[in-house]
Assembly symmetry: C2
Homo-oligomer: 335 residues x 2
């Protein structure tokens, strides 16, 4: 294993220390000394009168979630060990830190550990008089259950949930309204991914799975958990069709609808290839009479250095489009 790390056991804290120093204008990382629970908040503190937004999950998906803490998106993010849920002891103080009296929305990706630990943390926070609502993101159409999940996994669509709910909170919506718009994104967003090569978890030291020299895994999870099927490596056009069609079919997209098209890199795929996939996915949508009204292309929900990509489609309406367009200022998303 070759990685730019010191002690692999300390990779998450080392990385967050650099992250905190690089973005000190936007974020603050608490608990780097190990004496307190580890989580990321806004440098300027919670915004009085605003509903708080908290997310979290295993590390290794950077910039998700810590990279989305800032104006117009998250108030706190809770990083677990690599591909491992954060603990309730970390999540509960992050929920408290994000609260200014109007309540907090917890955005949870649908993995069993995340769901359980957030549930426990919510109970702890509620015991401290923090009102918490929870939404569970489950956008991955690839498989119904998986190694780590009952039901569908939460993957790249999480970025859209965090961005749009963040904009709703920033404009002053109350907790019920922020929760409702987050759920509307979840109801209208679908994703499917493909891996060309595995990643190596630092404290494991060997690749998470093996793929043949001429083999790809369609429907891969963001922890390398199995997808739908392994198929021979194919052209970008063919692979994109294998990703886009289940997504569009599951959404029930109709001619005349408008969508956000998001092509996400898994960490080890050149940006130039993501744009090829984007172009192919857009053509397939246009062939269905669907208009791509908004776009995002890049590495936002990664699996360390995994080679691969996912295609996410979000059905837009006027309000979701306005909330997507609202200003955002975080380390990883900015407009």
């Amino acid at each position: 294993m070759k990685k730019l790390l010191d002690d692999p056991e300390n990779a998450v804290a080392d990385s967050l220390a650099g992250f905190a120093a690089a973005h000190a204008d936007l974020v603050e990382v608490r608990g780097l000394d190990g004496a307190q629970p580890l989580f990321v908040t806004r440098a300027a503190g919670a915004v009085p009168g605003k509903v708080g937004l908290v997310s979290g999950g295993g590390s290794g998906h950077e910039p998700l979630h810590a990279g989305f803490v800032g104006d117009g998106m998250l108030d706190a993010a809770v990083p677990g060990a690599v591909f491992t849920s954060p603990t309730p002891d970390q999540i509960a103080p992050a929920l408290q830190a994000a609260d200014t009296g109007r309540g907090v929305l917890a955005i949870v990706k649908n993995y069993t550990g995340d769901v359980l630990n957030f549930e426990t943390a919510v109970e702890l926070a509620e015991a401290e008089d923090v009102e918490v609502a929870t939404v569970v993101v489950n956008d991955d159409v690839a498989v119904e259950d998986s190694l780590y999940t009952a039901g569908r996994r939460g993957v790249a669509g999480t970025v859209a949930v965090e961005k749009i709910a963040g904009a709703a909170a920033a404009r002053g919506d109350d907790l019920a309204a922020v929760t409702a718009v987050a759920q509307r994104v979840i109801d209208n967003v679908r994703t499917m991914g493909v891996a060309l090569a595995a990643c190596t978890v630092p404290h494991v030291g060997k690749p998470s799975f093996d793929l043949g020299d001429d083999e790809i895994e369609v429907g891969i999870g963001i922890h390398g958990e199995p997808g739908r099927h392994r198929v021979p490596a194919a052209t970008a056009s063919e692979v994109t069709r294998l990703l886009l069609e289940p997504v569009a079919d599951d959404l029930g997209l109709q001619a005349g609808e408008r969508v956000l098209l998001f092509v996400n890199g898994m960490g080890g795929t050149p940006l130039s290839e993501l744009y090829v996939v984007y172009g192919r996915a857009r053509s397939l949508l246009e062939q269905r009479g669907v208009t791509v009204a908004r776009s995002l292309v890049g590495d936002y929900v990664t699996s360390l250095e995994m080679q691969g990509a996912s295609v996410t489609v979000l059905r837009l309406d006027d309000e979701l489009e306005r909330l997507w367009d609202a200003p955002v200022r975080t380390p990883a998303l900015h407009w």
Copy 2:
């Protein structure tokens, strides 16, 4: 070779077509039909009364250069084939498209092909009454000459040159002033990189070089050309020291100075590792009494999916800092 591409021979045009569609609000790609020379311009056209800024070079380094076309940065970018200089026939019309009568600055990375082809293109543009000044970026301290270069190579420091010269042009500086500030950046920026694993050029189909399982190449070029030495894989702290110290020494950094610290990913390295390197480099600078006043961490000058990173340091003064902070709105850099 597994890549998300259709015809490897057409990878650059396919990618640029997706790029153009995803960022139609900011950029326009001309010549995608193959009937005209291929280059990228602003969607809104050149800005009347502003000095034009043009850069370019081989593809495979995305988001450089096309990702930096937009407000506050480049007016046009000229992509060659992967790791291959663009031709004078492409560059000359890009120079013309960027001109609104106040002249154009060409920002060229120091590779022999780029330098020669830009020289020829400048002659062609001058024959059409476009005034062109040229600066050559040569920030790589690793080697004095290389496979493709007489003198030092131009690498990640190019981002700082394009950002800061772009801000000077945007505020209305004339061609001489924009050229002078670009040259001041070049005089004060240095970079060194490391590779952990090679990349594969699409139309070649096999890795550019071989590295042993426990070997890294220090001082690598952005085309995989040889660096200073191959050494056993080491910790992030040790590797960062091998990169940062030659950079700081060559700059002659003194205690009390302020710098921009830029840790650039080569394409296949997790963002989390870049932040570890950033933290280590920042500590080394602080040990020298140098203040890190501005930061940039991410994949900006890549080598396809190469695993590795580079460390860039730019000595700041008040004006360079103000120009760095000035608004920028491009596909890849935005604040």
